[in-house]
C-alpha cells in the first residue's frame, strides 16, 4: 500500500525539471508530475503545491505557453509546451545546474 518513498523536488530545480520534461513533448500538469517521477525512476516526487504555481510563473515569464487540448482518453486538459525563449532558458539552466552539481560533487568528494 505504501507509495514508493520519494524526496521532494529540490527547491529551485523544479523549473529546470518542468522545462526538460516539456522539451520532450507538450504535456498537461498531471503528465508532467508523472513524467518527472518516471524519469527520476520514482525517486523524485513533485509536490502539486509547487507544480502549478511553477507552471504559472514560467508561463508568465514567457518560457512556456498553454492551450486546452484533448487527451488520448478524449478528456479536456491543459497542455503546456516550451517556447523558443524557454528552450534557451532550459539550455542555460541545465548548464548552470551541471556546473553547480559538479561543484557540489567535488566538495563532497574532497578528503
Amino acid at each position: 500500500m505504501a507509495e514508493p518513498a520519494g524526496s521532494d523536488v529540490l527547491r529551485g530545480t523544479l523549473d529546470l525539471l518542468i522545462l526538460k520534461t516539456l522539451s520532450l513533448e507538450p504535456m498537461h500538469g498531471w503528465g508532467i508530475s508523472q513524467r518527472i517521477q518516471e524519469l527520476s525512476r520514482g525517486l523524485l516526487d513533485v509536490n502539486q503545491g509547487s507544480l502549478y504555481p511553477a507552471l504559472q510563473r514560467l508561463e508568465h515569464r514567457g518560457w512556456i505557453t498553454s492551450r486546452w487540448g484533448t487527451t488520448e482518453n478524449n478528456r479536456k486538459a491543459r497542455y503546456y509546451s516550451l517556447t523558443a525563449r524557454g528552450q534557451q532558458g532550459l539550455t542555460h539552466e541545465a548548464e548552470d545546474w551541471r556546473r553547480y552539481a559538479g561543484a557540489v560533487g567535488w566538495i563532497l568528494e574532497a578528503t
Binding site: 502539486q48 502549478y52 504555481p53 508568465h60 486538459a77 491543459r78
Partner: protein, 889 residues
C-alpha cells in the same frame, strides 16, 4: 484553473484505481495528495500581478476602519474639508462662468461687443441710438464685421389678467440670434422681414427656462399665441437655457423684434418718444461677429474711422464720444464697466485659497495627533514586517479617504452654494451670469479633493513611516515635557491656522469698518422709504435736434399739480421734484461770484440742484436760517436760492447769508457780470453724490423749479413705513394731473446708495464670511488637537493628580500648552496682515489699512477664542478621576 485541478485529481484517482484501490478510497488519496485547492488558487492569484489593486483596496478598507475607530477626528475633519472644498468649488464655478468659460455659442471667439464711450465717463460704457446702430450696420461690411445686431432690455407683462407676471425681456434686431450664434431649440429665430415694418410682426421667442416654468415645456406652444402687455404675440421659437445675455447685468427670458417696441414699451408710445428715429435716445447695446479672415485689431481700427466720422457729424452736448469694441466671446469682462469683477474674483481666490490651506493644515494636524497615538500600532506593524512605504501608504490612504468623503460633502455644499450665490450678494447685479456645477467644475472639485488629500496626508504619512519598531514598541506614553520637544510640527500647524484666520479676519474687520464708516457719514437727509421716479413729458423733444418744434416745459403750476396729485395717494408722506437724485452719477455745477470790497470779485464753484418747494421737507433737510421756496418765487421776480451751510460759511464767514446777494455765471454771456440771485435761506449740509464718501462738505445751492423751468424732473416720494405706491399708481396720479406727463422709471434711494458702494459691500461680505469660516476651522482645529492630546494623556494626568496636582494646575498646564502656538500664530498673522493690508487701501474708507484698533481687537478676540477652545478639553482633563485612570492600566 479549477478544470485543470479537476483533471489532475481525476487522473490521480484513476491511477490509484489501477493500483487496486476502490474508487472512493482512490479519490480520497488523490485529494489528499493534491492538498487544498484553495491554497493554489490564492498562490496563483498572487502571481497574477494584481497585488497593487488588491493592496489598495485593502488599504482603503483598513483606512475606513481606522477612521471609524476615531470618530472624533473624522467628525471634525470631514466637515472642515467639505466646507473648504465646497468654497473652492463655488469660487471656481464663479470664476469659470465669469472669466474662463467661453460663452455657449457658436464660434464664441468671433463675437464682439461694440460700445459707445463718452469722453466724460470712459469707464462707463454707453449704449447707442437706433440711428447710430443703422450707421454701424451700413458700415459693417467695410469695417470687416460679418453682421451686427442690437438689443435693449425691457420688462413686459406676460399673460392675461389675473395671472399676469412681469418678465425680463429684450427687444432685438432680426440678426440678433445669428450674430450671437444661438440656434433655436424649437421653431425658428427672427426673419429679416420681421426687422423692417414697425408693429407688423407680433412674434416672440421664449427662453427654454420660461417655456418650461410658465408653459410646462409644451412643444405645441410654438405657433401658438401668448399675451404680452395685453396684445397677442405668436411664439415662433424657443432658445436653449444656455443662451447668454451679452450684457452680464441682464437675463432676458423672451425676445421680440425691435419693430414691436411700441407694444412692449407702451409708455414710449404714450410719450411719443421716438425710439428708432432719435439720436439722443441711446438705448441699444450692439454686438457683432467678425467677418471671415478679419482680426479683432483690423475691425477695431475700421470702427475707429467710422467712430470719428460719426462723432464729427453728430456731436453730443456732453462732450466727445467714440466707438469701442471688446471681445465678448471668451468672457464678458472685457466690456467696460465690469472691470471690478476680475479684481473681486482675485480677492476671492486669495481668500478661498487661504481657507483651503487652513483646512488642510487642520486635518493634517488631526492626523498627526492621531499618528502619535498610533505609534504603537505602527511600530507593531513595522516589527511584523510592514515596509516603510507600506505604512506611509496606509496613512496617506486614510488622508485621501477623508478628503474623498469631505470632497463629496463639498460638492453637495457647492451645489447649494452656487444656487444661493446671488442671495449672498456675490453675484448680485449679474443675473446674466449663469453659475452652476458642470463637468469642468466637478473636475476641478475632484482635483482639489485629491490635492487636499495629498496635502493633508503627506506629512503624517512620512511620520508614520519612520515609526521605529524598537522605540515605539516600548509603549512609553507621550508626556507634556516630551511633547514640546518631539512634536513641534502640530504646534506649528496650529500657529499657521491662527495666522491665516487672523489675516482674513483683520481684512474682514477693515472692510466692515469701511462699510460702517460709509454708512455712518451723516447724509444730511433721510433715505428711508424714499423713491425717485423719472417724470417725462409725453412729447419728448430731442435736445440734439432743436430745429424741431420744441414745446415749452411744464409751468410751475403744472408741476405743482403733479406733486399735489401724488401727495394725495395713500402711503405717501411727502413728494417733491428735483432735477438730480441722491447718489446719481449726474451732477450740475456752476460758477458763482461774490462782490468783495472795492468791487473785487471772488469766484466759487458751486454744486446745484433745481428743486420744487416741498423738497427740503420731503427729504428731511433741516432749515437753518431764512425760508425755503414759496409761491412768491415767481419767474419774473428776483431770482432766489437756498444755500447750504458750507456755502454760507465760505462766502460770508461769521455773518448771516440770508438776504445777501451772489451772482451766477450766465451761460449766454460767460464773461458778463452774471445773474444776481438773493439767498433766502440756509439749509444744513448734505451729501447727495454717488461719490458721497469723497465729496466732503461741498458748497451747494438749490434753485427753485418755479424760476428755472425744466422738462424732465425726478419725483421724490417719501413713503409711509406701511408701503409706497407702485410705479403704476404713481404714473396714474401723474397722468391724471397732467396728461402730457408720465413716469418712465422708479428706483429706491437706499438701493442707489448701496449700489454706489458695491465693491466695498461685496468685499466686506466675502472677507467676513470666509474670515468667520477660517476662524471656525482654526478653533475646531485647536479644540480637536487639544482634546485629542488630553484624552491620550489621561493616564499621565491621573498620575499627576494622584501625586497632588490640583485640577486648576492641570487646566493651566493644558491651556498653557496651547497658548504658545496660538500666540505665535497671532503674531505671524499680524505681521502678514500688516504687509498685505496695504493692498486693500483702495477699498477702505475712514480706516487706515494698519488700523491699530482693528488689529488689536481682532487679534485679541481670536486669541481669546482659541484659548477658550482649549479650555473646554482642559476642564474635562481636570475632572479625570485618578483612581479610574490608574486602575485602567
Amino acid at each position: 484553473m479549477d478544470e485543470e485541478f479537476r483533471f489532475h485529481i481525476e487522473m490521480e484517482t484513476e491511477k490509484n484505481i489501477r493500483k487496486g484501490h476502490d474508487p472512493v478510497e482512490a479519490r480520497r488519496r488523490a485529494l489528499v495528495a493534491f492538498g487544498g485547492t484553495e491554497r493554489y488558487r490564492e498562490e496563483a492569484r498572487e502571481r497574477r500581478r494584481l497585488p497593487l489593486v488588491e493592496d489598495v483596496w485593502r488599504d482603503i478598507r483598513h483606512a475606513g476602519r481606522a477612521l471609524r475607530r476615531t470618530p472624533g477626528v473624522t467628525l471634525v475633519a470631514v466637515p472642515t474639508l467639505a466646507l473648504a472644498i465646497g468654497a473652492t468649488t463655488v469660487l471656481f464655478s464663479f470664476a469659470d462662468a465669469l472669466l474662463l468659460r467661453p460663452l455657449p455659442v457658436r464660434d464664441p471667439g468671433r463675437l464682439v461687443g461694440i460700445y459707445h464711450v463718452s469722453s466724460k465717463d470712459p469707464r462707463d460704457p454707453g449704449s447707442f441710438s437706433y440711428p447710430d446702430f443703422l450707421d454701424i450696420r451700413d458700415a459693417e461690411r467695410s469695417a470687416g464685421l460679418r453682421q451686427v445686431a442690437v438689443y435693449a432690455g425691457m420688462e413686459v407683462q406676460l399673460g392675461d389678467a389675473p395671472g399676469v407676471v412681469q418678465v425680463e425681456g429684450a427687444i432685438v434686431s432680426g440678426s440678433y440670434f445669428s450674430v450671437l450664434g444661438v440656434r433655436p431649440l424649437l421653431g425658428r429665430t427672427f426673419l429679416p422681414e420681421e426687422d423692417r415694418t414697425p408693429g407688423a410682426h407680433p412674434v416672440v421667442i421664449l427662453s427654454e427656462a420660461l417655456w418650461a416654468s410658465r408653459f410646462s415645456a409644451d412643444p405645441s406652444l410654438v405657433g401658438g399665441q401668448i399675451t404680452l402687455d395685453g396684445r397677442p404675440f405668436t411664439v415662433v421659437g424657443v432658445v436653449p437655457r444656455s443662451t447668454p445675455s451679452p450684457d452680464i447685468h441682464a437675463d432676458p427670458q423672451l425676445w421680440v423684434p425691435v419693430m414691436m417696441h411700441e407694444v412692449v414699451l407702451p409708455y414710449l408710445r404714450a410719450e411719443g418718444l421716438d425710439l428708432l428715429g432719435s439720436r439722443s435716445t441711446q438705448w441699444f447695446g450692439v454686438i457683432g461677429r467678425l467677418g471671415p479672415g478679419m482680426t479683432f485689431g483690423r475691425v477695431r481700427s475700421a470702427l475707429d474711422v467710422l467712430s470719428r466720422r460719426e462723432a464729427e457729424e453728430y456731436p453730443q452736448i456732453d462732450g466727445a464720444w467714440s466707438i469701442a469694441m471688446a471681445p465678448l466671446g471668451g468672457t464678458r469682462t472685457g466690456a467696460p464697466g465690469t472691470s471690478n469683477l476680475p479684481r473681486l474674483t482675485a480677492l476671492m481666490a486669495v481668500v478661498v485659497g487661504m481657507v483651503l490651506l487652513l483646512a488642510c493644515a487642520n486635518v493634517a494636524n488631526l492626523l498627526l495627533a492621531r499618528a502619535v497615538v498610533r505609534r504603537h500600532e505602527m511600530a507593531v506593524r513595522a516589527a511584523l514586517g510592514a515596509g516603510r512605504a507600506r505604512l506611509a501608504r496606509q496613512t496617506l490612504t486614510e488622508a485621501l479617504l477623508l478628503a474623498a468623503v469631505g470632497g463629496a460633502g463639498g460638492i453637495l455644499l457647492a451645489a447649494w452654494g452656487t444656487s444661493v450665490l446671488p442671495s449672498l450678494g456675490l453675484a448680485s447685479g449679474l443675473p446674466g451670469l449663469h453659475v452652476g456645477l458642470d463637468g469642468r467644475v466637478l473636475g476641478v472639485a475632484l482635483l482639489t479633493t485629491f490635492a487636499v488629500g495629498l496635502a493633508c496626508g503627506v506629512v503624517p504619512s512620512l511620520r508614520a513611516s519612520t515609526a521605529d519598531a524598537a522605540r515605539g514598541g516600548t509603549g512609553s506614553p507621550p508626556t507634556w515635557s516630551g511633547g514640546r520637544a518631539r512634536f513641534p510640527l502640530h504646534r506649528s500647524l496650529v500657529a499657521f491656522q491662527v495666522a491665516v484666520s487672523l489675516v482674513l479676519l483683520i481684512g474682514a474687520g477693515l472692510a466692515l469698518r469701511t462699510l460702517w464708516n460709509l454708512y455712518a457719514i451723516p447724509l444730511g437727509f433721510d433715505t428711508t422709504n424714499l423713491r425717485v421716479a423719472e417724470v417725462h413729458p409725453t412729447s419728448f423733444v430731442d435736445p440734439g435736434f432743436p430745429e424741431f418744434d420744441s414745446p415749452s416745459a411744464p409751468s410751475a403750476g403744472e408741476w405743482s399739480r403733479v406733486v399735489e396729485s401724488v401727495r394725495t395717494l395713500p402711503g405717501v408722506r411727502g413728494a417733491a421734484l428735483a432735477s438730480i437724485a441722491p447718489f446719481s452719477s449726474r451732477s450740475m455745477a456752476n460758477d458763482f461770484f461774490r462782490e468783495g470790497e472795492g468791487g473785487s470779485r471772488e469766484r466759487f464753484n458751486v454744486a446745484m440742484n433745481v428743486v420744487s418747494g416741498g423738497y427740503f421737507g420731503t427729504m428731511g433737510i433741516g432749515l437753518v436760517a431764512g425760508r425755503t421756496f414759496t409761491a412768491a418765487d415767481v419767474p419774473g421776480g428776483l431770482l432766489v436760492a437756498v444755500v447750504n451751510e458750507a456755502l454760507a460759511s465760505r462766502i460770508w464767514p461769521g455773518g448771516s447769508a440770508v438776504g445777501k446777494r451772489i451772482w451766477m455765471r450766465d451761460f449766454h454771456s460767460p464773461d458778463g457780470p452774471g445773474i444776481p440771485i438773493e439767498v433766502v435761506g440756509v439749509v444744513s449740509n448734505g451729501r447727495y453724490y454717488r461719490t458721497w464718501r469723497n465729496a466732503g462738505e461741498r458748497p451747494f445751492a438749490f434753485l427753485p423749479l418755479s424760476q428755472h423751468p425744466e422738462r424732465t424732473m425726478l419725483l421724490h416720494v417719501r413713503g409711509a413705513a406701511s408701503g409706497i405706491p407702485t410705479a403704476a399708481e404713481l404714473r396714474r396720479a401723474v397722468t391724471s394731473a397732467d396728461p402730457t406727463l408720465t413716469i418712465v422709471s422708479m428706483a429706491s434711494v437706499t438701493r442707489a446708495r448701496a449700489q454706489a458702494v458695491t465693491l466695498q459691500r461685496t468685499s466686506a461680505k466675502l472677507l467676513t464670511l470666509f474670515g468667520m469660516l477660517a476662524g471656525l476651522i482654526a478653533v475646531i482645529g485647536i479644540y480637536g488637537v487639544v482634546s485629542f492630546t488630553v484624552s491620550r494623556r489621561s493616564r499621565e494626568i491621573g498620575v499627576r493628580m494622584a501625586l497632588g496636582s490640583r485640577p486648576r494646575d492641570v487646566r493651566q498646564r493644558v491651556v498653557a500648552g496651547s497658548a504658545l502656538p496660538i500666540l505665535v500664530g497671532a503674531a505671524v498673522g499680524w505681521l502678514v496682515a500688516l504687509a498685505l493690508s496695504m493692498h486693500l487701501s483702495s477699498l477702505l474708507y475712514g480706516v487706515s489699512p494698519r488700523d491699530p484698533t482693528t488689529f488689536a481687537v481682532v487679534g485679541a478676540a481670536l486669541v481669546a477664542v482659541g484659548l477658550l477652545a482649549s479650555l473646554v478639553p482642559a476642564r474635562r482633563a481636570s475632572r479625570v478621576d485618578p483612581l479610574t485612570v490608574l486602575r485602567a492600566e
